[in-house]
Symmetry: C2
Subunit: 200 residues, 2 copies
């Protein structure tokens, strides 16, 4: 079945390009993606790269989606192994903090937020969509902890999700500008206080 | 005194260039500063712009310092009019939240953090210095509220400053990606809870 083989080879090449593009964008930003540099990193011609994505914007979109997917797998999907309620909510926070530590040299999505938050268009839409999805998933994990009776019934899940994001953003910033270990300790303390003040 | 006149004219021109550079960098980032665009905006030649700053990096440094100064004046210096303790601490937070609202199209310093946090050099050093100064000023305001007896004696001022930054960062991000008014309400609620849980 030569067609199927060609298709699967095409998909593998696309994955390879996307992998290299992700690495470049983590360092230089999604706007810093150059087709020339990418072609060099993937060992292909520029036209070969274009053949797989059609345009620079389509490639950038695919890279943003890749960034959201990797974060989602490492943090959200991994947390599903924990029991619903506080175990899962705490796992989300811990995996997220680990992600910040492990991606100290550049988190694609956080970089993309800063690049596109005031530039309307499909790339900004993709970033907003990724952040909204992530916020909703966090709020849902909080809601489950209310359902299990571990957090008080009058807890505002969306408020807690907002505050968890705040702690993670401060951790992200401090890890990159100041001392990573001190930042992690402060972030843990903030989260403990947040959960404790809403515990039953 | 022709020399003095020339000097004051030179300073005025430098201020004008810096003002235009600040506006461009708010939109396009400090890395997005082009001497050509700046010369056009200031109604000067490129060599005229260079004569005032010597290099692109010196201009970028001056712009980062300008960003830090503007934020400091609008938030920190303004808050000094309030009584030390909780009135001043609350004023810092309110002026900061107002700053986020009024600079929705781009906050130079927040943009510069994302641009330089993983690029060692004098520009990163300037960003780290500005953020460290701001964090210390916030912690100092918390310490004064402990001294006045409004916050508990065992309050960790640096921890509270970290958490205030977290709330401000979440507000900054949500204001730009989602709904500004809802974000402000959530940020106010987070700060109220933070202060309340450490009140005497």
């Amino acid at each position: 079945m030569p067609t199927s083989t060609a298709t699967s080879k095409g998909a593998a090449t696309r994955d390879l390009i996307l992998d290299r593009a992700y690495a470049i964008a983590c360092r230089n930003g999604v706007e810093g993606l150059s087709i020339g540099e990418l072609a060099l990193a993937a060992g292909m011609s520029k036209s070969g790269v274009f053949a797989h994505f059609g345009s620079r914007e389509a490639l950038q979109l695919a890279v943003i989606e890749q960034g959201a997917r990797r974060f989602g797998e490492k943090v959200l999907i991994r947390s599903l192994k924990q029991a619903r309620g506080m175990p899962r909510l705490r796992a989300i926070v811990q995996y997220w903090f680990d992600w910040v530590r492990d991606n100290r040299q550049g988190c694609l999505i956080m970089g993309a937020v800063s690049e596109y938050d005031s530039r309307p268009g499909p790339l900004r839409d993709a970033v907003v969509e990724a952040m909204r999805h992530w916020r909703e998933a966090t709020a849902r994990a909080v809601s489950l902890a209310i359902e299990t009776g571990e957090l008080r019934e009058d807890t505002d899940a969306s408020q807690i999700a907002f505050e968890i994001f705040g702690v993670a953003l401060a951790l992200h910033q401090d890890t990159r500008l100041f001392e990573a270990r001190r930042a992690r300790a402060q972030a843990e303390k903030a989260i403990d206080r947040l959960f404790k003040s809403h515990s039953t």
